[in-house]
């Protein structure tokens, strides 16, 4: 049944092509109108050229100019008198007739001194009814206009300081210990956004994320190997140096076009956010009051892929008023999550033999965006706001996750329930996610059959080479979890009068408590296979919970400065699910605590 539903998946490109053709046609129409206008102007000019040949007509034109000049002089005098009147009196209402209203729309502030400098780049297309100017300085605005008025540049970002008491690994000999704990600054991310609305019913949106991205540097050279020495060997040396910083990620997080069919529904296509749960679609750091993302969405994902989870696809989005509230809905056909690989390379310089290791790490990733993966998933969301401030939403994701190099067809089914409740200054918000990975045992057998051996080793004189399959997954039968936030928006009078509130319109202090828990059912720990057959498979149930107590100070709505204490606790299994350190795996601590200070900003 579901597969039948996915039939339209392959139509996504056709739908997008038709939409784009329609918009191109619309623009062509505009251009045609402009071209007709310019032709008319040309004709007029030709006519006036002919007229100039006639003295009578020149005389008539001269008279006409004189008449218009007299009218302008009279109007200027009238305007000066009106300005003087306005300046001398308190603001007065000036009666105008309905017929005059069109003229008013075009008019400018009457007193030249009243005109403030408009925001640079703010053109006519999006300036509003009044062609208004910003009340604050340029820097106080959120989202700048560039390349004309239809393009807005904005973004958000965050960084934090974290200190925790995770146990480090045992000391071996006189070497320093391998550290898991943290005590430093973490530039979490900078996301740049561009929002373009060339005409009323079309818009384009892009988010580019620099996550923990400090540097990417590539150097290349081709130099002669023979540099003239006595023992030189003839040849050419090709060198490539790649320098970057740990944990760096550069990602096109969102990139979509939306065509509004009417006020309640639009078609959106491109790279979108699967609307499962509320965190993935509301992942802007400046929205949240805890300086770390939730376990089930990020660090120990119950979602098929950690937030921000993006997929290429096409679908419908909209909302509609119902009673005292409204409903909102989204439905997309997407390429879908797939088992993908990343090639990990390790070079170990050791006492005995040096080691070079290549590890294809197989795990769940967003579907490729190069068209190589068939659209094989759907994702949806239906939200109900019975009354503003209170929401409940149901969401889901259903798609095939097995790649083409496997014979097994297996599916992910994810269901989410999330909501928010507002009671005066109290707000509570939460999310539950359940994800089932179908036929996991068969998929692992299929992997073993296709990859044949899980490792291969060879040794040369002083070097050992190894190829080892890494099953990063996380491979589980199913995962589920939830989080609940409870916070209070506190606006004490002293805050407004203190240095923390001076100059800010609505400074707030927000005490917050978050409780979250996640379960991993039969997490794959060890898989050994030889000759295409599984020899050893170890799996384990894991569970972890986390309590966060924090306080956030928001001088303005888009800048939270957060302080938080987090207590992580292993509820089940031999290790925690989070954190997982590259090269060291998951921590075996029973529990650990962290203290975080974070700043996020939207601009």
């Amino acid at each position: 049944m579901l597969r039948k539903m996915l039939g339209p998946a392959s139509w996504a490109s056709v739908v997008l092509a038709i939409i784009l053709s329609a918009s191109v046609a619309a623009f062509a129409e505009d251009k045609k109108v402009e071209s007709n206008k310019s032709k008319a102007v040309e004709k007029k000019e030709t006519a006036s050229g002919d007229a100039s040949a006639s003295r009578n007509e020149v005389e008539q034109l001269r008279n006409e100019v004189e008449r218009l000049r007299a009218m302008v002089d009279a109007l200027m005098k009238e305007r000066a008198a009106a300005t003087a009147h306005t300046a001398n009196q308190s603001p007065a209402a000036e009666a105008v007739t309905a017929q005059q209203s069109e003229t008013i729309q075009e008019s400018k502030p009457q007193n030249p001194q009243e005109q403030e400098k408009p925001i640079p780049g703010r053109g006519k297309t999006d300036q509003g009814l009044y062609g208004t100017v910003a009340a604050g300085g340029q820097t106080s605005r959120y989202g700048r206009a560039v390349f004309g008025d239809s393009v807005r540049i904005g973004g958000y970002g965050s960084f934090r300081f974290e200190t925790n008491n995770l146990n480090n690994l045992a000391r071996v000999g006189d070497l320093p210990v391998a550290r898991r704990n943290r005590n430093g600054f973490d530039i979490r991310r900078l996301v740049l956004t561009a929002d373009v609305s060339p005409v009323e019913r079309l818009r384009f949106y892009t988010e580019i994320e620099f996550e923990r991205f400090g540097k990417l540097e590539i150097e290349r050279a081709a130099i002669p190997e023979n540099r003239g020495g006595a023992s030189a060997i003839r040849g050419t040396r090709f060198i490539q140096e790649l320098e970057g910083q740990d944990g760096s990620e550069l990602k096109l997080e969102q990139f979509w076009a939306q065509y509004d069919l009417n006020k309640s529904i639009g078609i959106r296509g491109g790279i979108i956010l699967p609307p499962v749960g509320r965190f993935n679609i509301l992942h802007d750091d400046d929205y949240w009051d805890v300086p770390r993302r939730t376990l089930i969405d990020r660090d120990a994902p119950a979602l098929p892929v950690k937030t921000a989870w993006s997929e290429a696809g096409l679908g419908l989005i909209g909302s509609k008023a119902i009673g005292q509230g409204f409903i909102n809905y989204q439905f997309y056909v997407v390429n879908g999550v797939t088992l993908d690989y990343a090639l990990e390379q390790t070079v170990a310089v050791r006492d005995d033999k040096a080691k070079i290791e290549f590890e294809p790490e197989i795990g769940f990733e967003s579907g490729a965006v190069n068209g190589s993966r068939p659209a094989s998933a759907v994702t949806w969301r239906l939200g109900l706001t019975p009354r503003v401030g209170n929401e409940i939403a149901f969401s889901g994701y259903h798609g095939k996750y097995t790649p083409r190099f496997l014979q097994t067809d297996a599916w992910i089914n994810s269901i989410g329930v999330d909501g928010k409740l507002t009671l005066g200054n109290f707000e509570t918000e939460g999310e539950f996610i359940y994800t089932k990975f179908g036929k996991m045992r068969e998929v692992l057998s299929d992997l073993a059959r296709n990859l044949v051996h899980d490792e291969a080793e060879d040794e040369f004189n002083e070097t050992e080479t190894e190829v080892e399959v890494g099953l990063k997954g996380p491979f589980t039968d199913h995962r589920h979890g939830f989080w609940v936030d409870l916070k209070y928006r506190w606006r004490p009078a002293w805050l407004k009068q203190s240095i923390l509130g001076e100059g800010f319109s609505d400074p707030q202090l927000i005490p917050i408590v978050r409780y979250e828990r996640v379960w991993y059912s039969r997490l794959l720990r060890e898989l050994e296979f030889k000759g295409g057959a599984i020899e050893n498979l170890e799996a384990e149930d894991l569970s972890q919970d986390r309590l966060t107590i924090g306080l956030t100070y928001r001088p303005i709505s888009s800048v939270p400065v957060s302080f938080a204490y987090q207590y992580n606790n292993r509820r089940r299994g031999s290790t925690l699910i989070f954190p997982e350190t590259i090269g060291l795996g998951r921590a075996a601590d029973r529990s650990f605590s962290s203290f975080l200070i974070g700043i996020a900003f939207g601009f």
Binding site: P8, E94, L261, K263, S264, Q324, F326, S557
Partner: protein
Amino acid sequence: MLRSMVKQNEALLRRAIKAIALMIAAAAFVSINSRAATAQTFLTLEQAPKAVFPEADSFEQRKINSTPQLRSEVLKMVGRKPSIWEPFYFAYIAKRGGQRIGYAIVCEEIGRDRPITFIVAANTDGTVKDVAIMVYRETRGGEVRYPGFTRQFRGKSLRNPIQAQGDIRNITGATLSVRAMATGVRKALAVMQLTVMKE
């Protein structure tokens, strides 16, 4: 030749026919259910006063110049800086049987990036009668146009905070638009009190 072409591309053609059928169905659905041309405009300048004062039988229109003095007084009354100073305001005095029944004013505030145009109607005692969004230009947050949100302002006056996430409930994903509307309604009430209500 044509037959062999069709035969070779049978599966592709079948999918294309399905896609076209789906498109026609979608287009039919949309054309039945919508007037597509105005996705962002909900009320024109002519419709707006009638929308907030359906019981009125006539309107007197005023153009109020936004002078530095007016702005300074409005700023004091609003208590927070609006994002926009309009160069002038369209204001209306609503009448029924020759009697004043209220006032309305068209204002703008920037949500996240773009101006939201809205009309605020007040009773003769200065309390909000109704608020309606006229044009919403932002990418997200358009839910502020729904009556469920705008009815929160009813009965409030400048004596109330009219504050987002305070006495005005927030809409998730539309926080900046909600803030803009809260500030905008205070601005509209202040302009009305300083001008048309004094007449």
